[in-house]
Symmetry: C2
Subunit: 411 residues, 2 copies
């Protein structure tokens, strides 16, 4: 999932009770628009990854018995295997051949659920919190899959399924992976509904960071300064014409504008040549075992070596990747990767998140950045993040640049 419109800062941080009405007004609502669904459906990299992950790994969706038959194994031997399988005492052999049950968390238009059904699943539960569920239902019917795909409108935390599932598939990733905190819902679904033998699609996720160069920082600083100059004129005029001294608001205004122009992470589609140092992993998630606690706070200490001669360290670029590996006991036939790393041709609607430094810092090839990172949920809205970077630079030649810290907001 990409962006959502955030208009307020209500709701709790990690663990706090979130008012459902407020959560709907702030978060879920944009997903009720077809235009927004279309934007995600037009992301070819995203679509290709999920499409391939499903269709090259049909055994997770169809069932190994059926797959074996398709691959030419002896029908009799397969039948014996079926009968011996603890799941299926006394069932019709043909029914049990198509054995997989899938849960699509946040089905949106229903695309993943439809693919899961087309890949051979016996049953797909497609859960969607918004009125988009009605469109998903229409789409399922129009594609003749209403006997397999059951669209359920509701929150995954609230709804009840008649059975546990073999696969949980979901496209839950937000900017910088965890913005939107939708993975909480996937974890909840997994803990409630995934069989002990079940697999997660995707199975793994990682957050990456690298030092970058960018011209955007200068613009933002210019905009900020412009806004502050304008404020000064405004204070003068309001005093002159209207007899009210607004100068006491200058400090809070500056803080508000600084946060908006200089401290809020930006969506950007970085060119690979903007990455000026080695990339590093900030977090690795095993989707089968991760808990909400594991992701409430993300902390990492990493190093990055500058790879470009005589350049400007303008800030940090962040992105994520996910992998579809199945599980150890039931691996994917072929591992598929969906990456949102800076790319010339394979950009995604997620872009990257850019955290700008003001001013940029001159660095050179071989200089070493020692970075501490931490990310927490915003107290006012658990779906938004507060990020702290602190960095020390050991140049190849020259004096150590002592540790400097910057706070950012992912809005």
């Amino acid at each position: 999932m990409g962006s959502f419109v955030n208009s307020s800062r209500n709701g709790g941080g990690g663990g706090a009770v979130v008012d459902k009405g407020v959560d709907f007004a702030q978060y879920f609502c944009t997903y009720g628009f077809l235009y927004h669904q279309k934007e995600m459906l037009c992301d070819r990299v995203r679509m290709d990854a999920y499409f391939n992950a499903i269709f090259v790994n049909k055994q997770h969706f169809t069932g190994k018995f059926w797959e074996k038959l398709l691959r030419g194994h002896s029908a009799l031997l397969v039948y014996c295997e079926v009968l011996a399988h603890s799941d299926y005492p006394g069932k019709w052999p043909f029914n049990v051949l198509v054995v997989k049950v899938v849960l699509d968390v946040g089905t949106g238009s229903g695309i993943l659920a439809i693919w899961s059904a087309q890949a051979g699943a016996r049953k797909v539960y497609a859960v969607e919190a918004t009125k988009m569920a009605e469109h998903a239902r229409a789409l399922v019917k129009a594609n003749n899959l209403q006997d397999v795909v059951e669209v359920i409108e509701g929150s995954i935390e609230d709804i009840t399924l008649p059975e546990k599932v073999d696969v949980i598939i979901s496209e839950w990733m937000g900017y910088f992976l965890l913005r939107e905190s939708m993975f909480d819902s996937v974890i909840c679904a997994r803990d409630r509904w995934l069989k002990p033998t079940g697999v997660m699609y995707p199975s793994h996720a990682r957050i990456w960071v690298a030092p970058i160069r960018s011209g955007v920082g200068e613009h933002k600083m210019g905009d900020y300064q412009s806004t502050m100059d304008d404020w000064c004129d405004f204070v003068d005029e309001t005093k002159t014409y209207y007899g009210v001294d607004m100068s006491v608001l200058s400090k809070p205004f500056a803080e508000e504008q600084k946060k908006y122009y200089l401290q809020t992470s930006l969506w950007n589609n970085l060119h690979p040549n903007q990455v000026i140092g080695s990339t590093a992993i900030l977090k690795e998630i095993d989707c089968l075992t991760a808990t909400v606690n594991d992701i409430l706070e993300v902390r990492a200490d990493i190093c990055s070596s500058i790879t470009l001669e005589n350049t400007r360290f303008c800030g940090y670029g962040g992105w994520f990747d996910v992998h579809f590996r199945g599980r150890k006991e039931d691996p994917a036939q072929q591992e598929i990767e969906l990456t949102t790393a800076p790319s010339v041709d394979n950009g995604t609607h997620w872009g990257q998140q850019v955290f700008l430094l003001h001013p940029p810092i001159r660095v050179s090839e071989g200089d070493n950045l020692s970075v501490s990172f931490s990310m927490n949920r915003s107290n006012e809205n658990h779906r938004l993040m507060e990020v702290d970077f602190s960095c020390e630079i050991q140049p190849v030649s020259g004096k150590l640049i002592p540790r400097f810290s910057n706070k950012f907001y992912i809005e």
Copy 2:
């Protein structure tokens, strides 16, 4: 008040219970930003109107006794008048000279409350629902008015005042006057807190409409057609590459986009020469007596005569004005008008609301438009509106253009 970010359609229509958390997340939140307050404070037409309304009508704020003294009346005679006044049995004569109490509904930065105090009010209650109240408090203190102005953070519907007030001042007007439905809160304040002798600032409000010409409609139609062409390609590609037939969603997508591009009213700063016919009043409000019921539905049948030779009727332009007239028994010294009509030099941050027709209609000087108008609150969000225009055109020469209807959304 100008714009607010609407991100959802929750909450009830007129009369329904509105969830406060949701209302905050959708409506109040943008008013918590100094940047937004500044935009309104920089609207010179708005500022001048309120400033003048208050300072040329000080008797509403200072009290007639004090005003009389200032104008040279005999102190002894004024004192006798004070003692005789039913409000002030046995009070100190000097205290009672500054006798007016003011309530500022939705004080924001506190500007109107501060002016009211500077104009001589004994006490000003400045009520503000958002955290902007903290800034208002600081501003009051920085302007040495903390003994007069008491900032109260809360909803006017919930808070309690220690006394009734002589003046309710508020800048509650939204686009096309009633967007945001803030006047409901002013009515509530009036019914709870205004003395029988009290005055409303402003005292009157009117909604206006006129036929207009505009180039924007063509752009919107172009954007809409572009989006639909893009959708068709998307449906083809999704079928070809991903085996899913999305055509069942074409109709709801077209409706969603039609609503967005063609049926949503636009903010515009109209030039007076874009007004192609006589203006007409859709609604008149007496702020002293209006009830919520009076404004739940706005209906009007009006006529407009085209004033331009051979032009295009591209849609309807709507705006409002308010007046500060005091009350019949206690009128303003000087009536002040705040108008948002199309103007070259005196535009406001409200602009006008434009309701576009597709395609435009050729009309000529003297042609008569017979228009029926109705406006109701949106079921999903009582602060947003649904508008119906129906129009019949009797040309000076030529055949009647039979009644055609258009629905619009004020988002």
